[in-house]
């Protein structure tokens, strides 16, 4: 299978006050298209930073990230935005819906950015899939946490991404709702054949993916293949 994400000797340092903080150091791994992949580690291990770099939200100090055949380091900010719009879907811990847009409009935005004329129909279809056909015109503040995350799910899949990054997708949800959202996530992912990268500290959730990358102190301590039962 071709590699959809290729990470090579990645390093990232942040300035914290007068100190320099090395968040990631010598990170290398690759993900094949269609794989499910989780990044786990304790707080401060660099999981979210790694996800940001892999998804083209930021650039590394050294090393290389190749996403869907493009070297992210060679793209400017707008080119990276375009790449994200075409190839990447996101799910965030705190949903990150646009508060002034309805559920339907939130899901439509990635498609509208592509100039897709069928954005509305496709978005309605996706919202039906996540069980929110009755909530199309509701604003995020009128939805529960689980409902908001389902809207976020629909939005993440709306542009038919090649790869989907999920950052602690159940972190803000109770166990029951979290479970429902994860089930939905895997169903939609399977249906769309999307590569899925989940950042989590929930080992149970990680066990549901095909690969687990373990981080500690900004370094990889293990890259395991999971035997799914």
């Amino acid at each position: 299978m071709p590699k959809i994400l290729n990470v090579d000797e990645l390093a990232k340092t942040y300035q914290s006050g007068s100190k320099k903080l090395k968040v990631l150091d010598g990170i290398s791994f690759a993900i094949e298209a269609g794989d499910t992949f989780s990044i786990v580690g304790p707080s401060g291990s660099g999981k979210t930073t790694l996800l940001g770099l892999c998804a083209g939200l930021d650039t590394a100090d050294t090393g290389k990230v190749e996403l869907c055949g493009s070297d992210i380091g060679n793209l400017n900010e707008d080119e990276r935005a375009l790449l994200r719009n075409r190839e990447v879907g996101f799910i965030f811990q705190d949903f990150q819906l646009l508060p002034t847009l309805t559920a339907l409009e939130n899901v439509s935005v990635p498609l509208e950015l592509q100039g897709d004329a069928s954005a509305k129909e496709r978005s309605i279809g996706l919202l039906k899939k996540v069980g929110l056909e009755e909530r199309l015109d509701h604003y995020p503040s009128q939805l529960s946490g689980g409902e908001q995350q389902r809207v976020a799910l629909a939005r993440a899949f709306s542009n038919k991404p090649s790869i989907l990054f999920a950052d602690e997708p159940t972190g803000n949800l109770d166990e029951e709702t979290g479970e429902k959202v994860i089930k939905l996530l895997f169903e939609l992912n399977k249906e769309a054949g999307t590569t899925l990268v989940i950042v989590t500290h929930d080992l149970e959730l990680a066990q549901r993916t095909q690969h687990i990358l373990r981080l500690k102190g900004g370094k990889i301590i293990a890259n395991e293949k999971v035997i799914l039962t």
């Binding site: 942040y14 300035q15 979210t48 930073t49 996800l51 940001g52 939200l57 930021d58 793209l75 900010e77 707008d78 080119e79 935005a81 375009l82 790449l83 994200r84 719009n85 075409r86 990447v88 996101f90 965030f92 811990q93 705190d94 990150q96 819906l97 646009l98 508060p99 002034t100 847009l101 309805t102 409009e105 935005v109 990635p110 509208e112 950015l113 592509q114 100039g115 897709d116 604003y139 503040s141 009128q142 939005r155 542009n159 950052d167």
Partner: protein
């Protein structure tokens, strides 16, 4: 990579979607723009109306837009010019003559004014009975000065003989426009028809005559330009042009200052508009930064996110500008109705185009301009923010910020220039405000630094929380301190300036100002004259000694030598002039020291230090330190110029070109000038009667008619200053309320969080109250302190008047603004206290 696909339509759609959902918030932000623009439009429009009205006053004083006067009947060239100007609407032949009254055989030197046409073209001929003003022309009668009527106990129906002709007295002349020669109106006026002048037999070759031709022109004609073009041509024909503008200039500094004051008010209105717009846009955009990060994360480009909010701001600016302009116009139109009963004069309110265009333009332009700085942040917002990663704090786009800041300063300057039409004023005002702004930003930053460094860890929880609010992330210290500070600065500047100008008009219009001047009183007559004045219930306001002298040598060169010097460019009239000089130890209210040091008392060392009026200094080409030897009736006195004074010659009081210190001229041969104030016509008449009989050598100048006309105008000016100042102050406070109100959403999350953690309503109130108290007290305090400096500068450089700061801004304005800020702060947190936390977050949080 392919280009982005979403077009401009999508950008508009996103801007609309975001705006639509922002609902109440958007209205709150737009309210600030509306208030700012409404303030600008109404203040500007009404001020335009008042300026026009004041303009009409000076026309009413002259009775025309302009007068052309000649000493003889106009020649063909002058007639051609008059025809080209649309022809005169009224004419007057003016000369001094003795008049006699057959009733009692008395005679009096009067000024005959032979009138023909629609005189006056502006203002009224006030007579008693009032019909007389219309009838004297048909009936070929005379209108006789009110003092003369009383002095000689004349009645309407009696006769007055001028030259060979007897005229029936049709009425008492109370006031008449056109008495432009204030200081020289030694003789009281008598008005007769122009056609009857010939019959008096007084018009002979060699008679000293003045022909005045009264003109009215369209409002669009620039009189200054006309004056500059026509006057030199007329000069060659021995004629002269005098416009009502020069008439108003003669009315003194308070008249000129009202124009400057209205300019200042207009500029302040512009700034208030800017403060309203800037503070609301700043906070609005700041709230949008997170949504921008999300959009970028989903693939929106920098240009797209920037454009979405730019479109929104343009929309808000347009709607705010439109609503604000409409509100401003309605407010202006309602003034005459609302103020009925308070207005001391009829005022015609008309829609001025400039303020309306400016309101609409300013709404969009200033919104965009002030949005550029916060919008720049959207350019540099990293999509990484959605992952809770705080990027390095390094501020990006330093160069762009400088460009935007320069653009803001330049735009405010250009708007001011358009408004004020004076580069120096516009530059000075903008610089003053920029410095104030910089100082406020500096103090806000310093404050945050100091609180952080010396944080009082032992204070109570609420006190510590309120202090923390001043410098922790998401603080509003700089923006609110600047808004409150600039607001307080402008408001208190208005207050100080108002005080300054009112003091000036009071000085000029108070009942203490002289309206009767007694000339040529000999030293030995002084006491007796005084004893004639005081028993009539009048007081001697000034008793001024006058010594006459001529220049003997100037800067070491004899006058004779200078007279024959063909190279010198000095104005040689000073060499032949007999100066009427006084001596005193202090400046008087009509004088301002412009250079050098005032010396009040001579200490008998070196040359005598004298003060010279600046116009004389210019003509004689003098510098401070130059020496002049005066010939004081045979005695030579060596003097040295120690100071220059600017003298307001229009004041109704004796003014002097040269003033000696005391302890020099006391023993010199001298005569005196006394002034007094006669409250009414009869007091003036009886004083004149008693003085004329006892002291035939004394000339009595009755300035009452002119003074009363001027007093009337000054009362109007005072009203205008008072009204515009208070209206602008009120508007300023409302704009300030709007600006502070926009901070509503800043503290809601924190307050809800504290509420959730169990904070009592009281504690939340205390934290909010203290934070807003610090901001209010500090902002208004600094603003008012800074306004002391700027008011002093306005007093020195623009209004040229002494400045004595009033305590009101400190005692009323500072606590008042602080209280208002505090109350808004508290009302901002009301929703947190009244509803459950979750409901508040859902409703008002994002």
């Amino acid at each position: 990579m392919n280009k982005e696909k979403a077009g401009i339509k999508w950008l508009f759609k996103m801007a609309w979607r975001d705006g639509r959902a922002s609902g109440g918030r958007l209205i709150l932000f737009m309210a600030s723009i509306i208030l700012g623009i409404a303030a600008l439009v109404s203040i500007q429009s009404f001020s335009d109306n008042l300026t026009d009205n004041i303009g009409i006053q000076s026309k009413a004083l002259m009775g025309a837009d302009f007068i052309i006067d000649t000493k003889q009947l106009p020649n063909e060239r002058v007639k051609e010019i008059m025809d080209s100007l649309g022809g005169f609407k009224a004419k007057e032949l003016n000369f001094a003559s003795m008049a006699s009254f057959p009733k009692n055989g008395n005679t009096k030197l009067v000024r005959i004014r032979g009138i023909e046409g629609d005189f006056p073209l502006y203002g009224t001929l006030e007579t008693e009975p009032s019909e007389a003003a219309n009838e004297y022309l048909q009936e070929k009668g005379a209108l006789v000065d009110a003092t003369v009527m009383l002095q000689f106990e004349l009645q309407v129906g009696d006769q007055i003989k001028i030259g060979d002709k007897l005229f029936p007295i049709m009425g008492t002349l109370v006031s008449a426009p056109g008495n432009s020669a204030f200081a020289s109106s030694v003789a009281p006026p008598v008005i007769i028809p122009y056609s009857s002048v010939e019959e008096t037999g007084l018009i002979q070759i060699g008679s000293r005559l003045d022909y005045n031709y009264y003109f009215k022109i369209s409002d669009t004609t620039d009189l200054d330009v006309l004056d500059k073009t026509i006057d030199p041509i007329l000069d060659n024909e021995k004629a002269d042009m005098d416009t009502h503008l020069s008439g108003s200039r003669r009315m003194g500094r308070s008249y000129a200052n009202v124009g400057k004051f209205l300019n200042l008010v207009a500029f302040i209105a512009l700034l208030l508009g800017c403060v309203g717009i800037a503070s609301s846009i700043q906070i609005y955009i700041r709230e949008k930064l997170k949504a921008i990060a999300v959009l970028k994360c989903l693939g929106a480009s920098r240009k797209q996110t920037f454009s979405i909010f730019l479109i929104q701001i343009v929309g808000m600016g347009f709607l705010g500008g439109l609503a604000g302009t409409l509100a401003g116009v309605l407010l202006q139109l309602s003034f005459p109705t609302v103020l009925k009963g308070f207005l001391p004069f009829e005022i015609e309110v008309s829609l001025a185009v400039q303020p309306i265009v400016m309101g609409l333009l300013l709404g969009i332009f200033m919104s965009v301009l002030f949005a550029l700085l916060p919008l720049l942040n959207t350019w540099y917002v990293s999509p990484l923010q959605v992952l809770r990663i705080d990027e390095s704090k390094k501020r990006k786009g330093y160069k762009e910020r400088i460009v935007v800041l320069t653009l803001i300063v330049l735009s405010v300057f250009l708007f001011s220039l358009w408004l004020l039409d004076n580069t120096k004023f516009a530059l000075g005002f903008v610089l003053g405000v920029a410095i104030t702004f910089a100082i406020l930003v500096g103090i806000a930053s310093l404050l945050m630094h100091l609180i952080r460094k010396y944080f009082p860890k032992k204070w109570s929880f609420t006190s510590r929380q309120s202090l923390l609010n001043l410098f922790r992330p998401n603080n509003q210290t700089v923006i609110l301190l600047v808004a409150i500070g600039v607001g307080a600065f402008l408001i208190s500047n208005l207050y100080f300036t108002k005080d300054m100008l009112l003091a000036m008009t009071q000085l000029e219009s108070s009942s203490d100002s002289p309206n009767i001047i007694l000339l040529d009183i000999q030293s030995e007559q002084k006491e007796e004259v005084r004893n004639n004045i005081t028993p009539q219930g009048l007081s001697v306001i000034d008793d001024i000694p006058i010594v006459t002298m001529r220049i003997q040598t100037l800067k070491g060169r004899a006058v004779n030598e200078l007279r024959n010097d063909t190279v010198t460019t000095m104005n040689k009239w000073v060499l032949n002039h007999e100066f009427r000089v006084t001596y005193r130890d202090s400046l008087i209210s009509s004088e301002v020291l412009t250079e050098g040091d005032w010396v009040g008392n001579y200490d008998n060392v070196g040359p005598i230090p004298i003060s010279v009026a600046d116009n004389i200094a210019r003509d004689a080409q003098l510098k401070v330190g130059d020496t002049i030897v005066f010939n004081v009736q045979g005695v030579l006195m060596e003097t040295q110029v120690s100071s220059f004074r600017e003298v307001d010659w229009a004041r109704m009081q004796p003014n002097f070109s040269i003033v000696f210190p005391t302890a020099v001229l006391e023993k010199a041969p001298q005569f005196h000038v006394m002034t007094t104030n006669a409250p009414d016509v009869s007091a003036s008449a009886s004083l004149q009667k008693s003085l004329v009989q006892k002291f035939p050598n004394i000339s009595v100048l009755d300035l009452r008619q002119i003074v009363s006309l001027i007093e009337e105008v000054l009362t109007k000016i005072s009203w205008v200053i008072n009204f515009m100042a208070f209206f602008s102050i009120l508007t300023g406070i409302i704009v300030l309320i709007g600006a502070v109100r926009t901070s509503k959403y800043q503290r809601i999350k924190e307050s809800v969080l504290l509420r959730t953690l169990g904070a009592k309503g009281n504690q939340i109130l205390q934290i909010t109250a203290l934070e807003y108290f610090y901001l209010g007290a500090l902002g208004s305090g600094i603003g008012i302190l800074l306004s002391l400096i700027s008011s002093q500068m306005l007093a020195n450089f623009i209004f040229k008047t002494p400045f004595v700061p009033s305590w009101i801004p400190f005692a009323v304005l500072m606590p008042g603004i602080t209280l208002i800020v505090l109350l808004i702060g508290l009302s901002n947190s009301r929703s947190v206290l009244l509803s459950p936390p979750l409901e508040v977050l859902r409703k008002e949080g994002d």
